[in-house]
């Protein structure tokens, strides 16, 4: 029963930690390029399965090969030719992992532990898409299918069991999150953007993404306010109209370049009279400040400055780092399961031989007993044969599988040979 050594999983890639932006751009696979590359790779000797993950922060080729180190050279050559980079660049600015390390790497990527922004969950969807594309095109088989499915399960566990994805980690998004903490759902809310420069536009983008459809843009000149109103929806007003219109806003983001105060305590107090006690959320991201600090003392008014937003972001990053430890433990746990599964693969040919031998015996016996009997009896005999076969083989199969998973595959094969005479059987078949 001396079989061939089992194929191994590997990953070859480059990411934001190992390669510059320009090299990452050059290594990036486009939609059509992925297919062409994978098909070409699978036509070569030695690589049996392939999946390609390509995002702006990483390009990685996952595969299964009998000799992963030989496959590495082949992939470097093909990748270099495909994207017009040198093989040395890939080798010097990339990484190559095999077996458990490759599995752990994939799980860490899916769990967003290897991401530029720790805990961003976009990567889970990107890996899912890459895997689906590979699976639909039959570039993957049982090995990568198992590993990727286990990886997606790991990603879901990390998402559910840790808070690694919680809390905004960018200043603009922190403003949106704080607004949600005060006002709840932002759909249907009105956002006043005071100052239509770069910062104002970025804030408007984030609130627009959060579902806000009603904007009021205030600026010294109407031109840029009208442009932003046209792209995000809403109205354009002159800055001088602010005192009159501010009561219509649930959220005010101020980002002007004005040297003095634009929104005073008095202005806010006056506006609240028309708001019937509804809370007002203000963000001051201007330097120097646009909003008088005393505004924060007004009842039902919540004022946040750029420093407050930075503190919120920093707190969230600390939390994510703490949660990353829990996520790493989940990765280790799930990778160990895959490792045990992979070890168990050594015993698969033995189990197959065992089953084939006894299935043939069972079929022979059924044939013997069924001859001369009424034909309606045959299905019952076949069913009896199958039932007995499954019951008799259940315990040996389970035990052998377990030994294989525990890394004792060779001994398991020997026992199986001795007890069930599988090698002898093979020889007879061979003769």
């Amino acid at each position: 029963m001396e079989g061939k050594s089992q194929p191994g999983i590997f990953v070859l890639g480059a990411n934001h930690l190992t390669a510059s932006v320009s090299l990452r751009d050059r290594l990036l696979f486009d939609e059509a390029g992925v297919g062409e590359f994978a098909e070409k790779l699978l036509r070569e000797e030695g690589v049996s399965e392939v999946a390609v993950l390509s995002t702006c922060n990483r390009s990685e080729v996952y595969g299964v090969a009998a000799e992963p180190s030989a496959a590495r050279l082949l992939i470097e050559k093909l990748w270099a030719a495909h994207r017009g980079v040198s093989e040395d660049e890939i080798r010097n600015h990339g990484y190559f992992h095999v077996q458990t390390e490759a599995v752990r790497h994939l799980f860490r990527v899916i769990g967003s532990l290897d991401s530029l922004v720790l805990g961003e969950m976009q990567i889970l969807g990107q890996v899912k898409d890459s895997y689906q594309r590979a699976s639909q095109n039959h570039w993957t088989d049982f090995y990568l299918n198992h590993v990727f499915q286990a990886g997606l399960h790991t990603g879901k566990r990390i998402h559910a069991e840790t808070a690694i994805h919680e809390g905004a980690v960018s200043i603009s998004y922190a403003a949106v999150e704080l607004a949600r903490k005060v006002l709840g759902e932002l759909r249907g809310r009105s956002v006043g953007v005071v100052g239509t420069g770069e910062m104002g536009e970025l804030a408007a983008q984030h609130f627009h993404k959060a579902g806000v459809k009603n904007f009021l843009f205030f600026n010294r000149s109407l031109g840029s306010a009208e442009r932003m109103a046209a792209s995000f929806g809403g109205e354009a007003h002159l800055l001088t109209d602010l005192s009159e219109k501010i009561s219509r806003c649930d959220i005010v983001v101020s980002a002007t370049g004005a040297p003095g105060i634009v929104i005073s305590r008095e202005l806010v107090q006056n506006s609240l009279r028309h708001r019937h006690g509804r809370p007002l959320f203000l963000v001051d991201i201007a330097a120097p400040r646009d909003i008088e600090s005393e505004v924060g003392e007004v009842d039902n008014t919540f004022l946040f400055t750029i420093d407050d937003l930075k503190n919120a972001v920093s707190g969230n990053l600390d939390l994510r780092r703490q949660e990353a430890r829990k996520a790493e433990a989940i990765v280790d746990e799930e990778a160990a399961k895959v490792e045990a599964w992979a070890r168990g693969l050594d015993i698969v040919p033995v189990l197959r031989a065992l089953r084939e031998k006894y299935q043939a015996l069972a079929e022979k016996e059924v044939e013997k007993w069924a001859s001369g009997q009424p034909p309606e009896l045959r299905p019952h005999l076949e069913s009896l044969g199958r039932g007995l076969l499954n019951k008799f083989l259940h315990d040996p199969t389970t035990r052998l599988k377990l030994m294989g998973e525990q890394g004792d595959g060779l001994r398991a094969s020997y026992y199986a040979d001795m007890l069930f005479a599988l090698a002898q059987e093979e020889k007879q078949h061979g003769a």
């Binding site: 069991e161 808070a163 903490k181 006002l183 709840g184 809370p279 009842d299 707190g315 829990k326």
Partner: protein, 268 residues
């Protein structure tokens, strides 16, 4: 039936403690997913034990278990747990379970220490008018309690927002507006139930030909006045947020003080 009640009595505090532990983990730890399921299961179990105990007592005494202090507290605890379930189902307030199921657990445990022997009731107290009066009152108390818990949580989050404290509690609490609206809704509902209870009580007094009015009743009217004026000022003058929360808490404190002296009664 006595055996059934005897089994459920010690089981009830244990079930609530387990439930509270899971809700505490849900709120105070970052990995809430693991505790969500257990919080649901333990709440369902505690609620089932609680309901079973009430039915058991009713079957044992052949009457509604509402008359003694212990029984009223046990029913109030059940009402608190029930409105938590309602709130969790309608407004997704599961994360707040530690604070909303907590009072139910406390009341249930206190109730068990007061639960005594059966009473001999006069016919007046067996009237369905009286039963509905008590039921509506206890439902109102439960609604006021939930409103007060939500108001306290509102003030906690309000303080954290004003002081820019972005800690775990800050992250776990629902949005300020949600707390404000839910608190207002439950206090208004409590006021309606209390009004209904008052009218039913008046109806019962007239039917039974009772007389007299205790000083505690005036206290109950004061509670009603505070909660109704909180709802009115919110609607008319826009007194929302912090002011409304303080008002609700004031009403709740008055309610507790009024009831510390015991339940009001009538002379036959």
């Amino acid at each position: 039936m006595e055996t059934f009640v005897a089994i459920l009595k010690p089981l009830l505090p244990a079930a609530y403690l387990v439930c509270l532990w899971h809700y505490a983990r849900l709120f105070f730890s970052a990995d809430e997913a693991r505790h969500t399921q257990w919080a649901n299961i333990s709440l369902a179990f505690a609620f089932a034990v609680h309901t079973g105990l009430l039915f058991g007592l009713a079957a044992q005494y052949h009457r509604c278990p509402l008359w003694t202090q212990g029984e009223a507290l046990l029913f109030l605890a059940w009402m608190l747990a029930f409105i938590h379930v309602l709130s969790e189902w309608s407004a997704d307030t599961r994360r707040l379970g530690f604070f909303t199921v907590g009072p139910a657990a406390l009341c249930a445990m206190a109730a068990l220490s007061f639960l005594g022997r059966d009473l001999v009731l006069s016919e007046n107290y067996r009237s369905s008018w009286f039963i509905f009066h008590i039921l509506a009152s206890l439902a109102a108390y439960a609604a006021f309690s939930l409103a007060a818990v939500l108001a306290a949580l509102y003030l906690t989050l309000h303080r954290k927002l004003k002081h820019k404290t972005f800690d775990l509690t800050f992250r776990k609490l629902p949005p300020l507006e949600k707390l404000d609206k839910l608190s207002a809704m439950w206090s208004f509902l409590g006021s309606l139930l209390m009004l209904a209870s008052t009218f039913i009580g008046i109806g019962w007094v007239r039917r039974e030909g009772l007389q007299g009015m205790s000083s505690r009743e005036i206290g109950i009217f004061a509670v009603l006045a505070v909660f109704l004026s909180a709802a009115g000022s919110r609607r008319i003058a826009g007194w929302r947020g912090r002011r409304h929360a303080i008002w609700i808490l004031t009403g709740f404190v008055v309610l507790v003080l009024v009831n510390l002296a015991g339940l009001h009664g009538f002379r036959f």
